[in-house]
Symmetry: C2
Subunit: 806 residues, 2 copies
């Protein structure tokens, strides 16, 4: 019998400082979720946390950012401009596989004979110990296994994996095998495998579609113990090459052998281990991909082989040291301290770690909704990136935010084509995509979500405001702002009341669709129009290049100024969209707890017309466009919408938490904080197996900074209204602001603002609860936290939908 | 060279009295359209007007009402309650095929040798004459061909086809071949063929999907010259059997031979024809289908064989005579006289003929949108039936209307299941179906069109009002009324203003979707609720059976009375839906004529939010719920909506014509009348190849009776406000009203009302331009037509979209 110990999901005892995510036991029921949690990446290469031996798996995954195949979309009833193809993420060759077979000397039937022995497989034999640890400072996953085969041959195996942050194409694994009590014959096979089996698609419409055997072999190469495989995709026309280079340290008498079978290169190491012996195999893998029409297969093979060899030359200890150094530098800004709640301390570090490793500072790559941790949403980039992830990375790693915005800019041609196809103007960025073209197969909740345009524009404005990067603004920034603004100006219309309206769109909330004047969309479009006007005026040469004249700018300003803001005077609340508060209510009393998420139990026909909200929409508008609302409006709106928001989307908890904190409901804010922070570590949505929810993880940082820290930077003015949750003794976080690192520490005694890296002449101006402060490199500033005004009783959530109390 | 003469689409000279549709020449470019025009049917069997020889074809078609296969529906993004299977009409075995090969005595290479000779094919050889005539009184299609083969062998071929109105399962064809100037060796093959090739689906989303080889062979039988084929469908589980029985009359020396190959039974007749000789082959075909679990293959084969033999026993002249008698009886009520416009005289008779042959008076069969004339819309039944076709057939052939309503009643279980699935109450009838389940693959323009429920209820109420059929009301009628009303009561909601609202539905106009309070839907739902309340009160035992109590009835009445009616006070017009008149206008000035239909050139994102209307919606409400509007409102509404309706749907012209006539724009009404009447004869929408537009054809009768005759029967009160178009000297039509045939004749001298079949004591009460009249079997009544009030200038249509002027 093999043993299953329960997973240990909390930060644990004194020896564990909140920097390590540890799971013990085989935990076979949660394989998929564990693979996501233990995923490693560097914004270019992503390895899911699959077991070294590959099987059993929830879902294998070894991804390259942007590497994808396409599939046909067919519609029961097709329509004009319905996308006919969709990008789908597929794995590159899997270089993470190390399989082990064991036999005892007595049952070997001749060397290289018919029996390979018994494979290490957690489903068989006896598992004496099994532990995996994600070390958030070292940037590695370590695994220790103590296992006896069904025939009783016992081995200790440990592996260490990393995906190198400094070396973009490189990932590596060190695999160590020891015999425990008796000699064991072992065969260790390090595989490089293309077209690994992927489990079938589930019935859940939110899951990924699966393309089997997406890779066609183009070339292979062996050089001693090293190998290269080159494949291509048939429809997307991409070529992908992976090289593996090895180091083997083994007792005398071990044999090594490399061979190919179709779609697989294998290095096999075979020999006898006695107790005390140690077999160590280190694999250095390097990945590249390019359009088929670009670099040739041979050139790509040369390239990855050179990169793998360079990694081997640096050596595994060197890679580990460089990884640590890169993370130390990142954590200096990114670390969040939460004294008083070890579980959430760990969770928020876990969240930030995955954000840090999801993007790249160099080039023009973005971050898909699941990062490179799974194939959920087909690996697509959605508005999650600009709406949730970049608002964090702009503060923590602005180069990564810039890279992601450059990716949008690189796909401006496709967005312009899409706008023309939609009979609009400017650019219509895709609702979901990998390669830049719209891949949404349900337009009411896809192409109609035009707010993605404004989310991108907002991310540009925010990036420029936080960094002061005028060069970016003058180049890609102004292009993005102008072309997105042009869409709004064409799309909207003037009504008799003198207002500018945006009708027939879908806002963030996916339980309504095709509404008039979605408040979030209107306010974000207003910001987009004004931002484009400002940028075009500030950069007249760029404006001229884009054909912008004064009349066009005036048109944007007029539309932005006259943008309609739906408000219900009778109820004293803003409307999520025109008429929203007059829609029928949801019958919560007759909705059972097992009918959530509602979209799996009720038709859109019911959902769309009722006041039931999947995710923060108007509440998100109150966060992103904070200056458009008074404090009283925020309080009333928050209460009204909290009662109708079921949080069937993981995008909801974080903005709700921030607004709950702002309007004074700190306990509710804290419980919502826990929900967003634990989304994947506790698999709250039962969907983490498909990949991590990066927006939810980003939300954890946002709640700390914006909810507890009260951070806002509307119109480039940095302000804090800190509030310390009852549960916490200390909250600390940092952000980069115009070249400086600003550290904010909240304790019951007050808020401390400091610039730890700055020189004496450096200064940052900020506002603390309405007081203007100057923080300099010389002088940290501390101010007391004002007492919280009594916000009254907590607004009700829908029955059964309040977040769990902590 | 073969010759192409142009098609002759007008009623022609003095010899052609408007009862014959004649096409000459090969007309190969219009094959599909011609096949639809020359389609024959009897509401059970439908034969498209394919050439006897089968090829070339636009699309082969031999249909049985209700016989279908199913296909999987797959969605790029699936959703709750999205239908997973769709019914698709497929052909039964084709028994209409008679192929001819000719050779001269000199090129025969031995009898039965390798060469079959040259096939009669209009694409080869020389076509001296080719004529097809649909005789609307005889109920047959006659074809004459005078053709020389490429080698110069000349034959005259004539065929006569009928699908028997009195004999439900029977169709027949008589095929005659003569040599013209020299002896010719001929081989005539009468085929019975399953799984005939069907052309591929086009890109047009409105076209049918194609299932290849839908029939699986189960049994075959030969008996002398006669044969039977039995097949089944795999997914829908239906069994279909076709028998063919033959008579051959040939000169001496001819040989006959019957054989099978897979999926085909063939009777071959071979011999030499000398000038003056005549070969005559008559085929009698009989069709039945049944669920696979019902009648066995052998039993079904017995049944069809017996029916084919019985038809042969009656003989072709007997079938012709019975066909003529059935049509004489039908035309007595159904004929429409239009003196002054031979083209439209012919067109309206053509329209009525196709309506008459589309349905069956016996049983419980309905009429698909294309009848049995093509596979457009996958052969589905849509709301066209209750919305357009039954309003006519209730007057002309009420037994057929009853049969169609019984079909709805038979599928009440599926509609109840669907309502439960949609989390609603009562019954939710499908937007499109063959077998009774929802087959719509695009829910915003499918399942959201809940008005189909009210259309069915209205058809019940109208049928009962026109016939006085209390027995139907007490049985199926009350079931249909109650279950449809229950859906509205559950679906709607009360608002603070005390009104009852229906939000998030799609009305008739498919260029808007998911709107609040669609006026048509609301008024029809009001009628539905009140009709259910009345019926339940009148039939308490039926109400008790359905669990209806007084409180439920009171709820229906309250909802109906409080139903919200959207009205724009500022513009003084009703709104198609709440807020419609405040939506942005369509940019007609920048829409080119080749961008219609708009749905093929613009996304729904643009169409849905603008004031552009595909088809009559509010205007249809003014026809169907005439009493809900004042005359002044009708005039203002008509003008407002006429300017925004592009008529991209063939459902639009007829109701617009009726309302144009009512508000006094008779020239516009007449031009719209021509558009609906010529929809298929002139293939105005370029879509007639997929089958005839039965709703458009029904519209032709509706314009005569409701537009020119001013016929209304709101609340069971029969009224006429006749207006004679300038172009016409005389308009006459009849209708059945509570067991009587009422004939109405309009001339410049006045309107004459008579009961030609009634006895002296029989009477019908009606209103003529507000005057109450009693028409009895004794005494026709004539009243003058009042002068038309000046309605002012004709309201503009969208640029370029006014119907052609006659």
């Amino acid at each position: 019998m093999h043993s299953h110990s329960t997973a240990d999901r909390t930060a644990g005892g004194a020896g564990d400082d909140g920097w390590r995510i540890r799971r013990t036991g085989a935990d076979l029921d949660r394989l998929g979720e564990t693979e996501s949690v233990f995923a490693l990446g560097n914004g270019w290469v992503g390895w899911r946390g699959n077991l070294d031996e590959g099987t059993p798996y929830g879902m294998p995954g070894s991804y390259l950012n942007g590497f994808h195949e396409q599939r046909e979309l067919t519609y029961p009833e097709d329509g004009y401009a319905f996308p006919q193809r969709a990008d789908t993420v597929v794995s590159a060759q899997n270089a993470a596989l190390v399989r082990l077979w064991v036999t005892g000397p007595v049952d070997v039937r001749g060397s290289g004979g018919a029996s390979d022995g018994e494979p290490l497989d957690l489903r068989t034999g006896t598992l004496h110990e099994h532990e995996r640890v994600l070390d958030l400072r070292a940037g590695v996953v370590e695994r220790r296994t103590d296992w006896s085969s069904p025939a009783g041959h016992r081995v200790r195996v440990s592996s260490t994996r990393l995906v190198s942050l400094p070396r973009r194409p490189v990932a590596a694994v060190r695999y160590v095998v020891e015999a425990v009590d008796t000699p064991v014959d072992v065969r260790v096979c390090a595989d490089l495998l293309a077209n690994e089996r992927v489990p079938e698609r589930s019935d859940d419409p939110r899951a990924a579609s699966v393309i089997h055997d997406p890779l066609t072999a183009e070339a292979r190469r062996a050089d001693g113990l090293d190998g290269v495989l080159v494949h291509r995709t048939d429809r997307s026309g991409q070529r992908v090459a992976t090289a593996v280079a090895h180091q083997v340290s083994a007792p005398a008498g071990f044999a090594t052998e490399a061979d190919f079978v179709p779609d697989r290169f294998r290095l096999a190491v075979t020999g006898r281990l006695r107790p005390g012996d140690r077999l160590e195999l280190t694999r250095y893998a390097a990945y590249e991909c390019a359009p088929v029409g670009g670099v040739s297969a041979a050139e790509l093979a040369d390239l990855v082989a050179a990169e793998a060899h360079a990694a081997r030359a640096e050596g595994f200890p060197g890679l580990l040291a460089a990884q640590r150094a890169a993370l130390d530098a990142a954590w200096a800004t990114a670390d969040v301290v939460l004294d008083g709640d070890p579980e959430l301390q760990q969770a928020v570090r876990f969240a930030v770690f995955h954000l840090l490793q999801a993007g790249r500072p160099d080039g023009d790559r973005t971050i898909p909704a699941k990062g490179l941790t799974g194939n959920g949403y087909d690996g697509h980039v959605l508005w999650d990136t600009e709406g949730y992830v970049l608002p964090v990375l702009t503060y923590l790693a602005p180069e990564v935010a810039r890279s992601a915005l450059r990716w949008r800019h690189a796909h401006l041609p496709e967005a312009r084509e899409r706008a023309a196809e939609l009979r609009l103007a400017g650019a219509a960025f895709p609702w979901r995509t990998i390669g830049g073209r719209e891949c949404s197969g349900y337009w009411p909740a896809g192409s109609a979500g035009l707010h993605v345009n404004a989310d991108i524009a907002d991310a540009v404005l925010h990036y420029v405001a936080a960094t002061g990067d005028r060069e970016f603004l003058a180049g890609p920034g102004v292009d993005l702002l102008v072309e997105t603004a042009r869409l709004w100006h064409r799309f909207g219309h003037w009504s008799d009341d003198g207002a500018f309206h945006l009708h027939g769109v879908t806002g963030p909330d996916e339980y309504t669709a095709l509404v008039d004047d979605n408040l979030f969309t209107n306010l974000m479009a207003r910001r987009n129009l004004r931002g484009a006007a400002d940028a075009a005026e500030r950069h007249p040469e760029a404006a001229a290049r884009l054909g912008v004249d004064a009349a066009e700018i005036a048109g944007w300003r007029a539309a932005g100024d006259a943008m309609f803001v739906p408000y219900d005077r009778k109820r004293g609340v803003h409307q999520q969209a025109a008429g929203f508060t007059e829609q029928p209510e949801w019958d919560f009393a007759n909705t059972s707890s097992d009918e959530y998420p509602l979209l799996l139990h009720y038709p859109y026909l019911e959902l769309y017309r009722r006041q039931v909200i999947k995710q923060a929409d108007l509440v998100l508008a109150m966060l992103r466009c904070a200056g458009e609302f008074t404090a009283a409006e925020k309080a009333r709106n928050f209460a009204y919408y909290a009662a109708r928001t079921v949080r069937d989307s993981s995008l909801s908890a974080a903005p709700q938490a921030v607004l709950a904190a702002e309007v004074g409901h700190l306990d509710l804010a804290y419980d919502l904080f826990a929900e967003t922070a634990l989304q994947d570590l506790a698999d709250l949505g039962d969907k983490s197996a498909d990949g991590l929810h990066l927006a939810s993880l980003a939300g954890a940082w946002l709640v700390v900074a914006q909810g507890f820290g009260g951070l806002r930077d509307d119109a480039g003015v940095l302000s804090f209204d800190p509030r310390l949750p009852r549960r916490l003794r200390r909250v600390a976080f940092s952000l980069r602001w115009r070249g400086h690192r600003l550290r904010v520490t909240l304790t019951p005694e007050g808020a401390r603002y400091e610039l730890p890296d700055a020189g004496p002449g450096d200064a940052v101006e900020l506002w603390h609860h309405g007081e203007r402060l100057q923080v300099t490199g010389d002088a940290a500033v501390t101010r007391p936290l004002p007492p919280l005004p009594d916000p009254g009783p907590e607004p009700p959530s829908p029955p059964g939908r309040r977040p769990a109390r902590r």
